[in-house]
């Protein structure tokens, strides 16, 4: 049985969340936005997997891994829908810069 420090995992997921948030706030390209969202989402999934192994009771530990499996599926679905939006935006606007997708503004 191996041992790993909980603080290191929380710091890593906090760092990845910060990097993802930074990307979401600064990038204007839709594909880069999707990449930033994936980074932030992976930070959450990493926490689920670590605390599944760290949890004191067996049942809750396995639930953590189950939720991580479902979250990976959700993330893949989100990328598929995101790319459909990218294609629709490109067809209408001729660009995938989200700064120019302002048709819903009053």
């Amino acid at each position: 049985m191996i041992s790993l420090p909980p603080v290191g995992f929380v710091a890593l997921s906090g760092g990845l969340l910060a990097v993802g948030l930074f990307g979401i706030l600064t990038r204007r390209n839709f594909v880069l936005l999707l990449v930033a969202i994936e980074v932030a989402m992976n930070a959450a999934i990493l926490n689920f997997v670590y605390f599944a192994a760290y949890a004191p009771s067996t049942a809750s530990g396995l639930s953590g891994q189950s939720i991580a499996v479902v979250l990976v599926g959700f993330a893949a679905t989100e990328v598929a829908v995101g790319l459909a939006i990218v294609l629709a935006l490109y067809r209408v606007k001729g660009t995938i810069n989200v700064g120019q997708a302002t048709d819903l503004k009053l």
Binding site: I2, G15, G20, F22, A53, Q65, V69, F74, A76
Partner: protein, 162 residues
């Protein structure tokens, strides 16, 4: 510091550096290359956590499918695939907010022990029994969401819709 700890800190450093590189490089294709390395690195961390099923899932879904999907998205929306992304100003507010979120998460971990804690390994068979047993509703929900999102994606990209 034991061997797994050294491996974890090395993998963690690579994860943060590759995630940052993916968002900071100017060519979009290089972004996809860096994010592929990031996904493979996270998969290695899952193997280190003795969660082999999630490690393989990460390799197949993220490093495989998501990377190819993102690459396809770039290929069909760019005249030249290696064209550079226009520089966007990195506002100080975004950096400050990202740093604040990091500090908030890290300061909230005072109650966790900083010494290494044992990792429990789970058999993939036990995980699948759990997924199709007590956690079955989650999997059902995922299937329903996937069905709705595939329908939505097809509606968005179908021909003749402007």
């Amino acid at each position: 510091m034991n061997g797994p700890e050294v491996a974890f800190f090395a993998l963690a450093a690579v994860a943060v550096v590759t995630a940052l590189a993916a968002l900071l490089v100017r060519e979009l294709v290089h972004t996809i290359m860096w994010i592929a390395v990031f996904f493979v690195d996270l998969s290695a961390i899952y193997f280190l956590l003795e969660a082999p099923f999630l490690g393989v899932l990460q390799l197949g879904v993220y490093a495989g499918a998501v990377t190819v999907l993102l690459l396809l998205g770039i290929m069909v929306t760019r005249k030249r695939i290696f064209s550079r992304e226009a520089a966007t100003g990195i506002g100080p507010a975004a950096v400050v907010l990202a740093l604040l979120s990091f500090v908030f998460v890290v300061t909230a971990v005072g109650e966790f022990p900083s010494s290494p804690q044992p990792i429990r390994a789970y058999d993939p068979a036990a995980l699948s029994q759990n997924l199709f047993g007590p956690d079955g509703p989650w999997l059902l929900l995922l299937g329903l969401v996937m069905l709705a999102s595939v329908s939505g994606a097809i509606y968005l990209v179908r021909e003749g819709r402007e």
